[in-house]
Symmetry: C2
DNA sequence: CGTTTAATTGAAAGCAGTCAAACTATGTGG
DNA sequence: CCACATAGTTTGACTGCTTTCAATTAAACG
């Protein structure tokens, strides 16, 4: 648990559902790593590229995004500190989507070769990477459902619940509130709605007392009730919690 | 390539993007396996369960599906012969979605323990499983975009293009047409539309000469034009093709 | 402070949903 | 081989959720 290394967050993230021996943890922490600060909206991975390194989110938030032919943007997932941002590109031929910083963010960048070597030589780490990517896939499935079969009110509430739950499960929440780092346009891109309708939906949720806002800090006075509204069940996140 | 084993399809499916040595292939083909025929709509995996075996689709079609609280159904992916249907449940605590047979189907059922042992002992097979699940995740991302940001006409055309492309890439297409095994209601569940609107959309595509139908066999006289309409680019499928 | 970005609001239009009914396959049993 | 039952497709009329367009207000930032 050497909190001094930027990768200790990654170790915690991987070890949460797949056990890692001290030796595995040490090997991960010994990886060569470069830290990099990026501004909001910076592209971390671009569709079509083949990155030669793997970024891990250390601080701040990021998201995955795809563009449709007519210019529409769809955010397909959100990422919290500790999340690996492009494991998949180490194993696939080229990136099939974009990754962007949502806020100002700090990245730990690991060169491709030593990380690959580590995964090949340490079965437990390979296992943890597989589990992490399977959980990510589960979240994608839930998003297909969210965007495909729920109305605007439910969709937005679901997104907020997922965010709050994931923050909580990592102990990243402040007491009494979660800072939601998204603009209403970004919430729209994540839910398949327009920013105008997101605004109306959020104001309605606020009027009902389901959420409270002060600036960009959003809080959930009654998360249980919001979970009902958002048709939210945390099973798909596969958190012990 | 012993085509006699029901698992030879799986071997081909895994080996397509991650090389497998003859020894790896032989080990896969030596797995204990039971074949099972199921009727359309049979549940292969149920949300909440923890399966003790892993089904591989040998013949016919299947899909993954989730239900929303108000009874809506969202199909989140389609599966073709050769696809493993619940690798993820070997590594996660419990199933987060349902898997159902789309048509009458034949399954090869592998007990959990020997398959796990094989994956642990053969790095190349573990690698292939990871690559397969990463590609599946890529397809989920594209579906989020499809359902979230495209209009009905584009969505349906995209689904048809994906189906045709995946069938083609495995040599499963008949000459001059693909048998589309889905009802219009199922197409609606896969695209986030109602069956009524799917019907109108499909009839419009037919009137434009983009698709042809005779009974349940659908064909694509001009797949290139359909790809334009469906905003379809096969990059996300990660097929050599 | 001034400038830019984000949030808010209203009015109008449209795409897709809902409801209901008719029609067409498909398959089954007599 | 036909009559019936069932499942799926098709069509029309109407509704409504969400988008679009446009303008205003508020907040963030250098």
């Amino acid at each position: 648990m050497s909190d001094s290394s930027p990768l200790s967050l990654l170790v915690g993230s991987l070890a949460r559902r797949a056990p890692l021996a001290p030796e595995d943890r040490a090997a991960l922490l010994a990886l060569p790593v470069t830290c990099r600060d990026v501004a909001p909206a910076t592209y971390i991975v671009r569709e079509g590229e083949r990155p030669q390194s793997c970024a891990v989110l250390i601080d701040g938030f990021a998201y995955r995004q795809k563009l449709s032919g007519d210019g529409g943007r769809q955010i397909v997932s959100l990422h919290l500190p500790g999340d690996p941002l492009d494991f998949q590109n180490m194993f696939l031929d080229c990136a099939d989507h974009n990754v962007q910083a949502l806020t100002r963010a700090t990245l730990a960048v690991i060169p491709r070769a030593p990380l690959m070597a580590l995964i090949r030589s340490h079965g437990a780490i390979a296992h943890a990477v597989l589990v992490a990517s399977l959980i990510e896939a589960s979240i994608f499935r839930e998003w297909v459902l969210n965007v495909g079969r729920r109305d605007a009110r439910t969709r937005v509430a679901h997104l907020l619940c997922e965010f709050a739950t994931r923050m909580d499960s990592r102990g990243l929440s402040d007491e009494g509130g979660h800072e939601l780092p998204m603009t209403q346009e970004q919430i729209g891109d994540a839910t398949g709605l327009t920013s105008v309708h997101v605004n109306r939906t959020i104001k309605a949720l606020e009027a009902e007392g389901l959420i409270e806002r002060q600036g960009r800090v959003i809080s959930f006075p009654d998360l249980n009730r919001l979970r009902d509204v958002g048709d939210f069940s945390p099973l798909y996140l596969h958190v012990a919690n």
